[in-house]
């Protein structure tokens, strides 16, 4: 299903939440949000809390209705169409599993409501679909349990299965992994990524976790203060963010001021290659921690902090007269704190904004 938001804004008791002048910046005026979800792709919306990302999801679900603008499903304006008449599935942050029903009854719920009775499904079909969906999420052994008898990860899978069973044309995920602990989140994230890729359903996934966003997104949208700051392929946004907010939100970032000296552009890491396009105003050079390499011919830097984290060594470098730089060096290669080393930008790395 092709889904689009056209110039949509939403306000909660007169306070703009999405679109409009939600950030009180004064420069966005009454402009709403416009966004297309590509058919069969996973669009991830990432933003800090209060950025309006959950509001965006609820507008698509029909749990909220926009103040201005249109929400279109395959071209049809859905404003005023209640949730139960929209072909959507929602996975809630709290899972919202029905506590008085078994896992089987939870998954079957969407196959037995008014919406699906109209399609004339037989009880045998419902059973088959429940079994199919349970198999997809490895829930066969848990079908007769109550939600309270399940672990967090199992509850999460039931929530996904329940949303999936009616095969909605649009799947909405509202921070579905935020209640899981870090270790479990990694495995569930990977499973979910495989599942979404295999389904081919149009998906909107809301999160504040950048790793989740980079792993799951076909298309990444960064939201801040009710406005879309930047959108595109996830790695593009990580490598070439439009502004310091996107740069720091999607990962750790060193932002170095750039000064003009004669015809050349200079940073604390040295002169920039002439091939880089330097924007007007007060440009900043984005250096990701993994973009820094040890180079005896590079800029001299003192090691202020040094700690091996396993996959990489985390090092804080102090440049004379310059800012501190965060660097991720290959594991086991970082010198102790107090040492002096030469540091340089990896060839091809760095982005000006």
């Amino acid at each position: 299903m092709k889904v689009s938001l056209e110039n949509v804004s939403y306000a909660y008791s007169e306070a703009p939440v999405l679109g409009g002048d939600a950030g009180n910046t004064g420069d966005t005026g009454d402009q709403g949000i416009s966004l297309d979800l590509r058919e069969g792709e996973t669009t991830v919306v990432i933003g800090p809390s209060g950025s309006g990302k959950s509001t965006l999801l609820r507008l698509l679900a029909g749990l909220l209705h926009p103040r201005t603008g249109a929400v279109r499903f395959d071209g049809r304006d859905m404003v005023g169409v209640p949730t139960e008449k929209r072909d959507v599935g929602v996975v809630f942050q709290s899972y919202a599993l029905f506590p008085h029903l078994t896992v089987r009854q939870n998954i079957a719920f969407g196959l037995t409501t008014a919406r699906y009775r109209r399609q004339g499904h037989t009880p045998a079909e419902v059973d088959r679909r429940v079994a199919e969906t349970a198999a997809l999420l490895a829930l066969e052994a848990l079908l007769d349990r109550r939600p309270t008898e399940l672990s967090g990860g199992e509850q999460q899978r039931v929530a996904v299965a329940r949303a999936l069973a009616p095969r909605p044309a649009l799947l909405l995920f509202d921070e579905p992994l935020s209640a899981l602990d870090a270790r479990l989140r990694r495995t569930v994230r990977a499973d979910l990524s495989r599942l979404l890729a295999s389904l081919g359903t149009t998906v909107l996934y809301v999160t504040h976790d950048q790793e989740e966003a980079l792993l799951l997104a076909d298309h990444l949208v960064v939201l801040n203060r009710g406005q879309i700051v930047q959108q595109g392929p996830p790695l593009d946004l990580y490598r070439r963010p439009a502004d310091p907010f996107v740069a720091t939100f999607l990962g750790e970032a060193n932002l170095l001021p750039v000064s003009r000296q004669g015809g050349r552009f200079v940073t604390a890491l040295g002169t920039l290659p002439a091939t880089l396009h330097v924007p007007e105003g007060k440009p900043l050079l984005l250096v990701r921690p993994e973009d820094l390499v040890v180079d005896p011919g590079g800029v001299r830097a003192g090691v202020a902090e040094s700690r091996g984290l396993g996959p990489y060594d985390r090092v804080v470098l102090r440049l004379p007269g310059g800012p501190d730089l965060l660097a991720h060096l290959p594991p086991g290669t970082a010198p102790e704190a107090g040492a002096i080393l030469g540091i340089a930008l990896r060839p091809g790395a760095g982005h000006l904004l």
């Binding site: 139960e84 709290s94 919202a96 506590p99 009854q105 009616p166």
Partner: protein, 268 residues
């Protein structure tokens, strides 16, 4: 030997609880003792026949106050469903569809609990004195019982995630189906508890019932008053036991509903 202060605190607590329980139960125990342990002769019937023996005592009590018992039963039968029908939807509106001033209004709805029965009774007669007396009794009892429903059902609603209702809608259930399949089953424990509380309060309510009573329409607690003032203590005590009989199962049921299984909601 020094006794650790924590142990003293614990034992004081136990003693306190026991004393409270005793203070609550003692009047009932005295009443039961009063009904069963007195002499063979309890009094004289108006037509002259003496009341003799425990069985005859209860027969006598039912004979004079049987009609009042029926009035009380009819009143409770009307008040329990009406209190639920008025209170439960209102509790839902307060907790799920908050409007400006909802919190204030919800607190204000508890005020009748503190209203003296005489004030309520006079207010009812002033505003609707011409209405059938039974309806006035029902109205008076609702004023004392709807707040209980508001509170019990309201607390139950606060105890479950509003996202459950959003989830049901997203799965294709219109509001009526969501209420029938999700909200009501989850509220059953609180509705049963509310019904039992309403029953207990309405069955024992004296003030309003006494003030609104007519010679032809007396509830049992109101009738009990004249029993205590005119008959001997054993007769009144026996009447009290008759009155308490339906309350005991209700109280036991309220106690039993503390179970966790029940509070998770009923299976579909």
């Amino acid at each position: 030997m020094r006794i650790p202060p924590r142990r003293i605190a614990r034992q004081t607590g136990i003693a306190w609880t026991a004393a409270t329980a005793l203070a609550l139960v003692a009047p009932i125990l005295i009443t039961i003792w009063g009904a069963f342990s007195h002499s063979e002769f309890y009094g004289q019937r108006s037509e002259g026949a003496p009341v003799q023996g425990t069985a005859d005592l209860f027969r006598y009590v039912l004979g004079i106050w049987g009609e009042a018992l029926l009035h009380s039963a009819a009143l409770v039968a009307a008040v329990v469903p009406l209190a639920l029908l008025l209170g439960a939807p209102a509790a839902y509106a307060f907790r799920r569809r908050p409007f400006p001033g909802a919190r204030w209004l919800e607190s204000a709805a508890l005020a009748p609990l503190a209203l003296p029965g005489i004030a309520l009774a006079v207010a009812l007669i002033e505003t609707a004195g011409g209405a059938p007396r039974f309806l006035l009794l029902v109205a008076g009892h609702l004023a004392y019982t709807v707040p209980l429903v508001l509170k019990t059902v309201g607390n139950a609603l606060s105890g479950f995630d509003p996202a459950l209702e959003s989830a049901a809608k997203a799965l294709g259930a219109p509001p009526v189906e969501t209420t029938r399949r999700i909200v009501l089953p989850l509220l059953v424990p609180s509705l049963v508890l509310a019904a039992l509380l309403v029953f207990a309060v309405s069955w024992g309510e004296f003030n309003v019932s006494f003030l609104l009573a007519t010679p032809l329409l007396q509830t049992f607690p109101a009738a009990l008053y004249s029993t205590y003032t005119t008959n001997s203590f054993p007769v009144a005590a026996a009447a009290t036991i008759v009155f308490l009989l339906p309350v005991v199962p209700a109280l036991l049921a309220i106690q039993a509903l503390g179970g966790e299984e029940f509070h998770r909601g009923l299976p579909a």
